[in-house]
Protein backbone atom coordinates (compact mmCIF):
# COMPACT_ATOMS: atom_id res chain seq x y z
CA UNK A 1 0.00 0.00 0.00
CA UNK A 2 2.71 2.49 0.94
CA UNK A 3 4.50 1.51 -2.25
CA UNK A 4 1.45 2.53 -4.29
CA UNK A 5 1.15 5.78 -2.37
CA UNK A 6 4.81 6.50 -3.10
CA UNK A 7 4.32 5.86 -6.83
CA UNK A 8 1.22 8.03 -6.89
CA UNK A 9 2.82 10.93 -5.05
CA UNK A 10 5.98 10.72 -7.14
CA UNK A 11 3.97 10.86 -10.39
CA UNK A 12 1.89 13.79 -9.17
CA UNK A 13 5.01 15.60 -8.03
CA UNK A 14 6.63 15.07 -11.44
CA UNK A 15 3.49 16.30 -13.21
CA UNK A 16 3.36 19.54 -11.23
CA UNK A 17 7.07 20.30 -11.51
CA UNK A 18 8.19 22.93 -14.01
CA UNK A 19 7.86 21.29 -17.41
CA UNK A 20 5.96 18.39 -15.91
CA UNK A 21 2.92 18.64 -18.12
CA UNK A 22 0.13 19.67 -15.73
CA UNK A 23 0.36 23.36 -16.62
CA UNK A 24 1.04 22.61 -20.28
CA UNK A 25 -2.12 20.52 -20.53
CA UNK A 26 -4.19 23.34 -19.07
CA UNK A 27 -2.69 25.85 -21.51
CA UNK A 28 -3.42 23.47 -24.36
CA UNK A 29 -7.02 23.14 -23.14
CA UNK A 30 -7.39 26.93 -23.17
CA UNK A 31 -5.93 27.18 -26.67
CA UNK A 32 -8.21 24.45 -28.05
CA UNK A 33 -11.19 26.33 -26.64
CA UNK A 34 -10.06 29.55 -28.30
CA UNK A 35 -9.62 27.74 -31.63
CA UNK A 36 -13.15 26.35 -31.36
CA UNK A 37 -14.49 29.83 -30.75
CA UNK A 38 -12.61 31.08 -33.81
CA UNK A 39 -14.37 28.31 -35.69
CA UNK A 40 -17.87 28.95 -34.41
CA UNK A 41 -17.82 32.74 -34.15
CA UNK A 42 -18.29 34.88 -31.05
CA UNK A 43 -22.09 35.16 -30.97
CA UNK A 44 -22.94 34.53 -27.28
CA UNK A 45 -26.13 32.54 -27.83
CA UNK A 46 -24.44 30.16 -30.26
CA UNK A 47 -21.44 29.76 -27.96
CA UNK A 48 -23.54 28.83 -24.95
CA UNK A 49 -25.17 26.05 -26.94
CA UNK A 50 -21.88 24.42 -28.01
CA UNK A 51 -19.94 25.25 -24.84
CA UNK A 52 -20.30 21.85 -23.17
CA UNK A 53 -19.30 19.89 -26.32
CA UNK A 54 -16.35 22.23 -26.84
CA UNK A 55 -15.11 21.88 -23.28
CA UNK A 56 -15.63 18.12 -23.26
CA UNK A 57 -13.72 17.71 -26.53
CA UNK A 58 -11.00 20.07 -25.34
CA UNK A 59 -10.58 18.21 -22.06
CA UNK A 60 -10.44 14.91 -23.92
CA UNK A 61 -7.77 16.16 -26.33
CA UNK A 62 -5.75 17.71 -23.52
CA UNK A 63 -5.79 14.49 -21.52
CA UNK A 64 -4.77 12.49 -24.60
CA UNK A 65 -1.71 14.70 -24.80
CA UNK A 66 -0.12 13.09 -21.75
CA UNK A 67 -1.69 9.61 -21.81
CA UNK A 68 0.93 7.89 -23.94
CA UNK A 69 3.59 8.86 -21.37
CA UNK A 70 1.86 7.21 -18.41
CA UNK A 71 4.04 4.12 -18.67
CA UNK A 72 6.42 5.13 -21.43
CA UNK A 73 8.32 7.68 -19.33
CA UNK A 74 8.97 5.03 -16.69
CA UNK A 75 9.84 2.46 -19.34
CA UNK A 76 12.45 4.71 -20.91
CA UNK A 77 14.37 5.50 -17.73
CA UNK A 78 14.15 1.97 -16.31
CA UNK A 79 11.84 2.77 -13.42
CA UNK A 80 9.00 0.68 -14.87
CA UNK A 81 11.20 -2.40 -14.31
CA UNK A 82 11.69 -1.27 -10.73
CA UNK A 83 7.98 -0.71 -10.09
CA UNK A 84 6.93 -3.97 -11.71
CA UNK A 85 9.68 -5.97 -10.04
CA UNK A 86 8.64 -4.60 -6.67
CA UNK A 87 4.88 -4.97 -7.18
CA UNK A 88 3.13 -8.27 -6.69
CA UNK A 89 -0.28 -7.05 -7.85
CA UNK A 90 0.30 -5.13 -11.06
CA UNK A 91 -3.41 -4.30 -11.25
CA UNK A 92 -3.03 -1.91 -8.32
CA UNK A 93 0.02 -0.33 -9.91
CA UNK A 94 -2.08 0.43 -13.01
CA UNK A 95 -4.74 2.01 -10.78
CA UNK A 96 -2.16 4.12 -8.95
CA UNK A 97 -0.66 5.32 -12.24
CA UNK A 98 -4.07 6.07 -13.78
CA UNK A 99 -5.20 7.95 -10.69
CA UNK A 100 -1.94 9.92 -10.68
CA UNK A 101 -2.56 10.81 -14.32
CA UNK A 102 -6.02 12.02 -13.42
CA UNK A 103 -4.70 14.22 -10.63
CA UNK A 104 -1.66 15.41 -12.56
CA UNK A 105 -3.17 15.94 -16.00
CA UNK A 106 -6.98 16.03 -15.79
CA UNK A 107 -7.61 17.84 -12.51
CA UNK A 108 -5.78 20.98 -13.74
CA UNK A 109 -8.20 20.99 -16.68
CA UNK A 110 -11.18 20.83 -14.34
CA UNK A 111 -9.70 23.70 -12.33
CA UNK A 112 -9.67 26.06 -15.32
CA UNK A 113 -12.96 24.78 -16.72
CA UNK A 114 -15.09 27.33 -14.80
CA UNK A 115 -13.03 30.16 -16.30
CA UNK A 116 -13.36 28.83 -19.84
CA UNK A 117 -17.04 28.03 -19.28
CA UNK A 118 -17.70 31.58 -18.11
CA UNK A 119 -15.96 32.89 -21.24
CA UNK A 120 -18.33 30.73 -23.30
CA UNK A 121 -21.38 32.16 -21.52
CA UNK A 122 -22.29 28.89 -19.82
CA UNK A 123 -24.98 29.45 -17.22
CA UNK A 124 -25.39 25.90 -15.90
CA UNK A 125 -21.86 25.64 -14.49
CA UNK A 126 -22.44 22.90 -11.94
CA UNK A 127 -23.94 20.30 -14.31
CA UNK A 128 -20.97 20.79 -16.64
CA UNK A 129 -18.46 20.42 -13.83
CA UNK A 130 -20.32 17.43 -12.43
CA UNK A 131 -20.27 15.70 -15.82
CA UNK A 132 -16.51 16.30 -16.18
CA UNK A 133 -15.82 15.21 -12.63
CA UNK A 134 -17.78 11.98 -13.01
CA UNK A 135 -16.68 11.15 -16.55
CA UNK A 136 -13.04 12.19 -16.71
CA UNK A 137 -11.71 9.35 -14.53
CA UNK A 138 -12.83 7.04 -17.36
CA UNK A 139 -10.51 8.99 -19.70
CA UNK A 140 -7.51 8.29 -17.46
CA UNK A 141 -8.49 4.67 -16.85
CA UNK A 142 -9.25 3.75 -20.47
CA UNK A 143 -6.21 5.77 -21.46
CA UNK A 144 -4.06 3.72 -19.11
CA UNK A 145 -5.04 0.61 -21.09
CA UNK A 146 -3.85 2.27 -24.29
CA UNK A 147 -0.67 3.43 -22.58
CA UNK A 148 0.04 -0.08 -21.25
CA UNK A 149 -0.50 -1.59 -24.70
CA UNK A 150 1.88 0.78 -26.48
CA UNK A 151 4.62 1.96 -24.13
CA UNK A 152 7.52 0.13 -25.83
CA UNK A 153 6.58 1.52 -29.25
CA UNK A 154 8.12 4.63 -30.72
CA UNK A 155 4.91 5.89 -32.31
CA UNK A 156 2.91 5.28 -29.15
CA UNK A 157 1.36 8.73 -29.13
CA UNK A 158 -0.71 8.36 -32.28
CA UNK A 159 -1.39 4.69 -31.65
CA UNK A 160 -2.88 5.35 -28.20
CA UNK A 161 -5.25 7.85 -29.75
CA UNK A 162 -6.35 5.45 -32.48
CA UNK A 163 -6.80 2.58 -30.04
CA UNK A 164 -8.74 4.29 -27.29
CA UNK A 165 -10.57 6.93 -29.33
CA UNK A 166 -13.49 4.59 -30.11
CA UNK A 167 -13.70 3.61 -26.43
CA UNK A 168 -14.06 7.27 -25.49
CA UNK A 169 -17.29 7.54 -27.49
CA UNK A 170 -19.63 6.62 -24.59
CA UNK A 171 -17.79 8.99 -22.25
CA UNK A 172 -18.22 11.94 -24.60
CA UNK A 173 -21.82 11.05 -25.40
CA UNK A 174 -22.96 10.63 -21.82
CA UNK A 175 -20.71 13.47 -20.61
CA UNK A 176 -22.13 16.09 -22.95
CA UNK A 177 -25.55 14.53 -22.47
CA UNK A 178 -25.30 14.92 -18.71
CA UNK A 179 -24.16 18.53 -19.05
CA UNK A 180 -27.06 19.31 -21.39
CA UNK A 181 -29.51 17.45 -19.19
CA UNK A 182 -28.34 19.31 -16.12
CA UNK A 183 -28.67 22.64 -17.92
CA UNK A 184 -32.33 21.81 -18.42
CA UNK A 185 -32.70 21.34 -14.70
CA UNK A 186 -32.19 17.59 -14.25
CA UNK A 187 -30.92 16.53 -10.84
CA UNK A 188 -27.84 14.51 -10.02
CA UNK A 189 -29.74 11.24 -10.32
CA UNK A 190 -30.63 11.85 -13.98
CA UNK A 191 -29.93 9.01 -16.43
CA UNK A 192 -27.00 10.45 -18.43
CA UNK A 193 -24.99 11.28 -15.33
CA UNK A 194 -25.74 7.85 -13.89
CA UNK A 195 -24.74 6.19 -17.16
CA UNK A 196 -21.56 8.24 -17.18
CA UNK A 197 -20.81 7.07 -13.65
CA UNK A 198 -21.45 3.50 -14.79
CA UNK A 199 -18.92 3.88 -17.61
CA UNK A 200 -16.34 5.23 -15.15
CA UNK A 201 -16.97 2.36 -12.74
CA UNK A 202 -16.78 -0.18 -15.55
CA UNK A 203 -13.42 1.30 -16.60
CA UNK A 204 -12.29 1.02 -13.00
CA UNK A 205 -12.70 -2.76 -13.32
CA UNK A 206 -11.45 -3.27 -16.88
CA UNK A 207 -8.47 -0.92 -16.89
CA UNK A 208 -6.42 -2.59 -14.13
CA UNK A 209 -6.99 -6.07 -15.54
CA UNK A 210 -6.22 -5.20 -19.16
CA UNK A 211 -3.44 -2.78 -18.25
CA UNK A 212 -1.64 -5.25 -15.98
CA UNK A 213 -1.84 -8.01 -18.61
CA UNK A 214 -0.48 -5.66 -21.25
CA UNK A 215 2.45 -4.56 -19.06
CA UNK A 216 3.35 -8.17 -18.31
CA UNK A 217 3.50 -9.13 -21.98
CA UNK A 218 5.25 -5.93 -22.99
CA UNK A 219 8.05 -6.48 -20.48
CA UNK A 220 8.36 -10.20 -21.31
Amino acid sequence: MSALVSVFSRDVELAFRAGGGAAQGAVFFGLVTVMFVFGTGPEPGALARVAAPILWTGALLASLLSLDRVFQADFEDGSLDILVQRTETLEFLVLAKAFAHWVGAVLPLLVITPVLAAMLNVEAMWPLLASLLVGSPALSLIGAIGAALTFPLRRANVLVTILIGPLFAPVVIFGTGAAADGALGAGFGAPPLMLLAAVSLFSLIVAPLAGAAAIRFNLQ
Partner: protein, 254 residues
Protein backbone atom coordinates in the same frame (compact mmCIF):
# COMPACT_ATOMS: atom_id res chain seq x y z
CA UNK B 1 2.07 -35.68 -30.15
CA UNK B 2 2.53 -38.84 -28.19
CA UNK B 3 -1.08 -39.52 -27.31
CA UNK B 4 -2.92 -42.22 -29.20
CA UNK B 5 -6.22 -40.43 -29.53
CA UNK B 6 -5.64 -37.54 -31.88
CA UNK B 7 -8.92 -35.69 -32.00
CA UNK B 8 -10.00 -33.42 -34.81
CA UNK B 9 -8.75 -30.39 -32.93
CA UNK B 10 -5.33 -31.67 -31.98
CA UNK B 11 -4.87 -32.82 -35.56
CA UNK B 12 -5.87 -29.61 -37.30
CA UNK B 13 -4.65 -27.17 -34.68
CA UNK B 14 -1.20 -28.23 -35.87
CA UNK B 15 -0.10 -25.54 -38.37
CA UNK B 16 1.25 -27.98 -40.96
CA UNK B 17 -1.91 -30.10 -40.90
CA UNK B 18 -3.96 -26.94 -41.03
CA UNK B 19 -2.13 -25.83 -44.14
CA UNK B 20 -2.76 -29.16 -45.87
CA UNK B 21 -6.45 -29.06 -44.97
CA UNK B 22 -6.91 -25.43 -45.91
CA UNK B 23 -5.24 -25.98 -49.26
CA UNK B 24 -8.12 -28.34 -50.07
CA UNK B 25 -10.92 -26.19 -48.61
CA UNK B 26 -9.87 -22.72 -49.78
CA UNK B 27 -10.61 -23.28 -53.51
CA UNK B 28 -14.00 -24.79 -52.64
CA UNK B 29 -14.90 -21.81 -50.49
CA UNK B 30 -13.65 -19.38 -53.12
CA UNK B 31 -15.56 -21.12 -55.94
CA UNK B 32 -18.70 -21.35 -53.83
CA UNK B 33 -18.47 -17.67 -52.96
CA UNK B 34 -18.19 -16.66 -56.62
CA UNK B 35 -21.12 -18.90 -57.62
CA UNK B 36 -23.37 -17.69 -54.80
CA UNK B 37 -22.39 -14.12 -55.51
CA UNK B 38 -23.42 -14.49 -59.15
CA UNK B 39 -26.79 -16.03 -58.23
CA UNK B 40 -27.30 -13.50 -55.46
CA UNK B 41 -26.54 -10.58 -57.74
CA UNK B 42 -28.96 -11.94 -60.34
CA UNK B 43 -31.79 -12.02 -57.82
CA UNK B 44 -30.75 -8.69 -56.34
CA UNK B 45 -30.55 -6.79 -59.62
CA UNK B 46 -32.91 -8.57 -61.99
CA UNK B 47 -34.94 -11.30 -60.33
CA UNK B 48 -36.65 -9.18 -57.67
CA UNK B 49 -39.11 -6.28 -57.86
CA UNK B 50 -38.19 -2.73 -56.94
CA UNK B 51 -39.56 -1.78 -53.54
CA UNK B 52 -42.69 0.38 -53.37
CA UNK B 53 -41.31 3.32 -51.42
CA UNK B 54 -37.67 3.24 -52.35
CA UNK B 55 -37.53 2.28 -56.01
CA UNK B 56 -34.46 0.69 -57.55
CA UNK B 57 -32.14 2.01 -54.85
CA UNK B 58 -33.36 -0.68 -52.49
CA UNK B 59 -31.17 -3.16 -54.33
CA UNK B 60 -28.15 -1.64 -52.58
CA UNK B 61 -29.56 -2.93 -49.33
CA UNK B 62 -29.17 -6.54 -50.49
CA UNK B 63 -25.44 -5.97 -50.39
CA UNK B 64 -25.54 -3.62 -47.42
CA UNK B 65 -27.48 -5.59 -44.81
CA UNK B 66 -25.44 -8.82 -44.94
CA UNK B 67 -22.20 -6.81 -45.03
CA UNK B 68 -23.30 -5.15 -41.80
CA UNK B 69 -23.93 -8.60 -40.29
CA UNK B 70 -20.49 -9.73 -41.39
CA UNK B 71 -18.77 -6.66 -39.97
CA UNK B 72 -19.97 -7.51 -36.48
CA UNK B 73 -19.60 -11.28 -36.92
CA UNK B 74 -15.97 -10.83 -37.95
CA UNK B 75 -15.21 -8.81 -34.84
CA UNK B 76 -16.85 -11.54 -32.76
CA UNK B 77 -14.72 -14.24 -34.42
CA UNK B 78 -11.66 -12.08 -33.96
CA UNK B 79 -12.44 -11.71 -30.26
CA UNK B 80 -13.01 -15.47 -29.93
CA UNK B 81 -9.72 -16.23 -31.68
CA UNK B 82 -7.97 -13.63 -29.52
CA UNK B 83 -9.36 -15.24 -26.38
CA UNK B 84 -8.20 -18.70 -27.46
CA UNK B 85 -4.78 -17.33 -28.38
CA UNK B 86 -4.52 -15.41 -25.12
CA UNK B 87 -5.64 -18.20 -22.79
CA UNK B 88 -4.25 -21.30 -24.51
CA UNK B 89 -1.39 -19.52 -26.28
CA UNK B 90 -2.12 -21.34 -29.51
CA UNK B 91 -0.25 -19.76 -32.45
CA UNK B 92 -2.95 -20.78 -34.92
CA UNK B 93 -5.52 -18.76 -33.00
CA UNK B 94 -3.16 -15.76 -33.05
CA UNK B 95 -2.77 -16.11 -36.79
CA UNK B 96 -6.54 -16.44 -37.21
CA UNK B 97 -7.24 -13.27 -35.21
CA UNK B 98 -4.68 -11.32 -37.20
CA UNK B 99 -6.04 -12.68 -40.49
CA UNK B 100 -9.66 -11.86 -39.70
CA UNK B 101 -8.99 -8.17 -39.07
CA UNK B 102 -8.50 -6.98 -42.67
CA UNK B 103 -11.49 -9.07 -43.80
CA UNK B 104 -13.68 -7.58 -41.09
CA UNK B 105 -12.43 -4.10 -41.94
CA UNK B 106 -13.29 -4.74 -45.59
CA UNK B 107 -16.85 -5.82 -44.76
CA UNK B 108 -17.18 -2.81 -42.48
CA UNK B 109 -15.98 -0.48 -45.22
CA UNK B 110 -18.39 -2.19 -47.62
CA UNK B 111 -21.20 -1.57 -45.13
CA UNK B 112 -20.32 2.10 -44.89
CA UNK B 113 -19.95 2.56 -48.65
CA UNK B 114 -23.19 0.76 -49.56
CA UNK B 115 -24.91 2.59 -46.71
CA UNK B 116 -23.73 5.87 -48.12
CA UNK B 117 -24.85 4.90 -51.65
CA UNK B 118 -28.25 4.00 -50.24
CA UNK B 119 -28.30 7.19 -48.21
CA UNK B 120 -28.25 9.55 -51.19
CA UNK B 121 -31.50 8.34 -52.80
CA UNK B 122 -32.97 6.98 -49.55
CA UNK B 123 -32.30 9.86 -47.19
CA UNK B 124 -31.15 12.60 -49.53
CA UNK B 125 -27.60 12.84 -48.18
CA UNK B 126 -24.39 10.87 -48.66
CA UNK B 127 -23.92 10.56 -44.96
CA UNK B 128 -26.55 10.56 -42.25
CA UNK B 129 -25.57 10.21 -38.61
CA UNK B 130 -27.95 7.35 -38.13
CA UNK B 131 -27.34 5.29 -34.99
CA UNK B 132 -26.49 2.08 -36.82
CA UNK B 133 -24.23 3.70 -39.37
CA UNK B 134 -22.43 5.62 -36.63
CA UNK B 135 -21.86 2.45 -34.61
CA UNK B 136 -20.45 0.73 -37.70
CA UNK B 137 -18.15 3.70 -38.27
CA UNK B 138 -16.78 3.32 -34.74
CA UNK B 139 -16.36 -0.40 -35.37
CA UNK B 140 -14.36 0.48 -38.49
CA UNK B 141 -12.02 2.61 -36.39
CA UNK B 142 -11.64 -0.27 -33.96
CA UNK B 143 -10.54 -2.57 -36.79
CA UNK B 144 -8.04 0.04 -37.97
CA UNK B 145 -6.63 0.45 -34.47
CA UNK B 146 -6.30 -3.30 -34.04
CA UNK B 147 -4.43 -3.65 -37.33
CA UNK B 148 -2.22 -0.66 -36.54
CA UNK B 149 -1.23 -2.30 -33.25
CA UNK B 150 -0.31 -5.58 -34.98
CA UNK B 151 1.79 -3.68 -37.50
CA UNK B 152 3.58 -1.66 -34.84
CA UNK B 153 4.94 -4.62 -32.88
CA UNK B 154 7.82 -6.53 -34.44
CA UNK B 155 7.73 -9.72 -32.47
CA UNK B 156 4.77 -11.94 -33.45
CA UNK B 157 4.09 -13.58 -30.08
CA UNK B 158 4.07 -10.31 -28.19
CA UNK B 159 2.06 -8.64 -30.93
CA UNK B 160 -0.51 -11.42 -30.66
CA UNK B 161 -0.92 -11.06 -26.88
CA UNK B 162 -1.03 -7.26 -26.94
CA UNK B 163 -3.43 -7.14 -29.88
CA UNK B 164 -5.61 -9.77 -28.17
CA UNK B 165 -5.94 -7.54 -25.10
CA UNK B 166 -6.89 -4.60 -27.31
CA UNK B 167 -9.40 -6.73 -29.23
CA UNK B 168 -11.05 -8.11 -26.10
CA UNK B 169 -11.26 -4.72 -24.41
CA UNK B 170 -12.87 -3.43 -27.60
CA UNK B 171 -15.24 -6.36 -27.74
CA UNK B 172 -16.61 -5.93 -24.23
CA UNK B 173 -17.03 -2.23 -24.98
CA UNK B 174 -19.06 -2.79 -28.15
CA UNK B 175 -22.43 -3.12 -26.34
CA UNK B 176 -21.67 0.02 -24.33
CA UNK B 177 -20.67 1.98 -27.43
CA UNK B 178 -23.74 0.70 -29.28
CA UNK B 179 -26.01 1.65 -26.40
CA UNK B 180 -24.47 5.10 -26.03
CA UNK B 181 -24.70 5.82 -29.76
CA UNK B 182 -28.35 4.70 -29.82
CA UNK B 183 -29.06 6.90 -26.82
CA UNK B 184 -27.25 9.82 -28.46
CA UNK B 185 -29.22 9.31 -31.65
CA UNK B 186 -32.64 9.33 -30.02
CA UNK B 187 -31.54 12.47 -28.18
CA UNK B 188 -30.62 14.40 -31.29
CA UNK B 189 -32.71 12.97 -34.12
CA UNK B 190 -36.12 11.47 -34.72
CA UNK B 191 -35.81 7.70 -34.71
CA UNK B 192 -37.70 7.32 -37.98
CA UNK B 193 -34.47 7.50 -39.97
CA UNK B 194 -33.39 4.13 -38.74
CA UNK B 195 -36.50 2.36 -39.91
CA UNK B 196 -35.57 0.37 -42.95
CA UNK B 197 -39.11 -0.82 -43.58
CA UNK B 198 -38.21 -2.01 -47.05
CA UNK B 199 -36.68 -5.22 -45.74
CA UNK B 200 -39.64 -7.58 -46.06
CA UNK B 201 -40.22 -11.09 -47.35
CA UNK B 202 -39.95 -10.17 -51.01
CA UNK B 203 -36.34 -9.12 -50.75
CA UNK B 204 -35.17 -11.67 -48.22
CA UNK B 205 -33.92 -14.18 -50.79
CA UNK B 206 -31.19 -12.01 -52.39
CA UNK B 207 -30.12 -10.86 -48.95
CA UNK B 208 -29.63 -14.42 -47.77
CA UNK B 209 -27.89 -15.44 -50.99
CA UNK B 210 -25.43 -12.59 -50.73
CA UNK B 211 -24.95 -13.28 -47.04
CA UNK B 212 -24.01 -16.88 -47.87
CA UNK B 213 -21.64 -15.61 -50.54
CA UNK B 214 -20.05 -13.27 -47.99
CA UNK B 215 -19.63 -16.11 -45.50
CA UNK B 216 -17.89 -18.31 -48.06
CA UNK B 217 -15.78 -15.38 -49.21
CA UNK B 218 -14.86 -14.80 -45.57
CA UNK B 219 -13.64 -18.38 -45.19
CA UNK B 220 -11.78 -18.24 -48.46
CA UNK B 221 -9.99 -14.99 -47.58
CA UNK B 222 -9.36 -16.20 -44.04
CA UNK B 223 -7.65 -19.39 -45.24
CA UNK B 224 -5.59 -17.52 -47.80
CA UNK B 225 -4.51 -14.90 -45.25
CA UNK B 226 -3.69 -17.50 -42.64
CA UNK B 227 -1.63 -19.58 -45.03
CA UNK B 228 0.34 -16.54 -46.12
CA UNK B 229 0.98 -15.58 -42.50
CA UNK B 230 1.99 -19.13 -41.55
CA UNK B 231 4.41 -19.34 -44.48
CA UNK B 232 5.95 -16.03 -43.46
CA UNK B 233 6.32 -17.18 -39.87
CA UNK B 234 7.91 -20.45 -40.89
CA UNK B 235 10.44 -18.58 -43.01
CA UNK B 236 11.25 -16.29 -40.08
CA UNK B 237 11.61 -19.26 -37.76
CA UNK B 238 13.91 -21.17 -40.10
CA UNK B 239 16.04 -18.08 -40.43
CA UNK B 240 16.40 -17.58 -36.69
CA UNK B 241 16.85 -21.20 -35.68
CA UNK B 242 14.27 -22.23 -33.13
CA UNK B 243 16.61 -23.97 -30.68
CA UNK B 244 18.14 -22.29 -27.65
CA UNK B 245 21.84 -21.77 -28.19
CA UNK B 246 23.30 -21.44 -24.71
CA UNK B 247 23.19 -22.80 -21.21
CA UNK B 248 24.83 -22.11 -17.87
CA UNK B 249 28.12 -23.80 -17.01
CA UNK B 250 30.34 -23.37 -13.95
CA UNK B 251 33.62 -21.65 -14.60
CA UNK B 252 36.70 -23.36 -13.17
CA UNK B 253 38.12 -21.50 -10.16
CA UNK B 254 41.07 -19.35 -11.15
Amino acid sequence: MTTQQTSFWTRYANPAAFQRLSARIAPLAGGGAVALFAVGLYFALIGSPAARDHGEAVRILYAHVPAAWMSLACYTYMAAASLVGFVWKHPLADVAAKSIAPIGATFTALTLITGSLWGKPGWGAWWVWDARVTSVLILFFMYLGYMALWNAIEEPTRAARIAAIACLVGFINIPIIKFSVDWWNTLHQPASFTKQGAVDGAIALPTWLLFSAYVLAFFWMLLVNMNAELAERRAARLEAGARPTSTLVAEPAE
